[in-house]
Symmetry: C2
Subunit: 138 residues, 2 copies
Amino acid sequence: MHTSLESHQYLRQHSIKPSVQRTAVMDYLMKNRTHPTVDEIYSALSPSMPTLSKTTVYNTMDIFVEKGAVRALVIDEKNSRYDVDVSAHAHFICKSCGKVFDIFNLKPVLFQLPKDTPFKIDSVEISYSGICDSCKGN
Amino acid sequence: MHTSLESHQYLRQHSIKPSVQRTAVMDYLMKNRTHPTVDEIYSALSPSMPTLSKTTVYNTMDIFVEKGAVRALVIDEKNSRYDVDVSAHAHFICKSCGKVFDIFNLKPVLFQLPKDTPFKIDSVEISYSGICDSCKGN
DNA sequence: CTTTGTGCAAATTCTTTGCACCAAA
DNA sequence: TTTGGTGCAAAGAATTTGCACAAAG
């Protein structure tokens, strides 16, 4: 069975040569929609790919972002995080546990780019922060 | 003449003890609305305050944020940036020069917090990115 | 005095770089 | 072969920490 078939295809659709490492990383991203950091990706894959290096994960994420296959999130002060869902949606970061969650179903007007500025705007990032459900009690 | 009078008062309003260093930093923030990094603040003040340390600037910014006197921006992957304007407005970062600009006059609906989520949301950050006016030609 | 603030140096963390080796076309 | 990909080790940059000294009340 080919669990990485989708990842493989997705990479080719984005003109990314599907090496073993890249396919494994993309596969991880598609199956774990947790907006992982480089370290989280590396730590998850490392046991089954002992020769994998963090440098390769960094390189891989740079290529994915450059080719538009994933979106780099700037929401966590400590680490870069990545989202394989490049559609218009917002994010929420829990100030207590640091986890990042998706927020869908927002009004489309929120994602419209302002026109009356002197800038050439090409993307928007909407980030909420607060306390997540699991951390509420604590 | 007391150029730092406003800063001094602003600090007291936020229950921050106005030391010489803190007043100088706040004064800088109020007069330079450029969303500076710690390094930029330090480099600007260092000539006239030779004993100032970066640690103190870091400590100072932490206190300012904690007391609600300034807002920490998460928009620049490389550095923490700070904005003394805590009112509802968005930011734009130029991918070419890295400068951060304010964007005012956006619809108030953009700053409304979503209610139908399992999270206790208490703030929103709207960040645009692209190319600024001065970098357009280059 | 006693508490709080400051600042140096060292440590930590995340990310990037240089370079040699490996793999695929 | 030749080009591009990988991975180790070292370097770099931003931030934090430990601790001693200074300042303010």
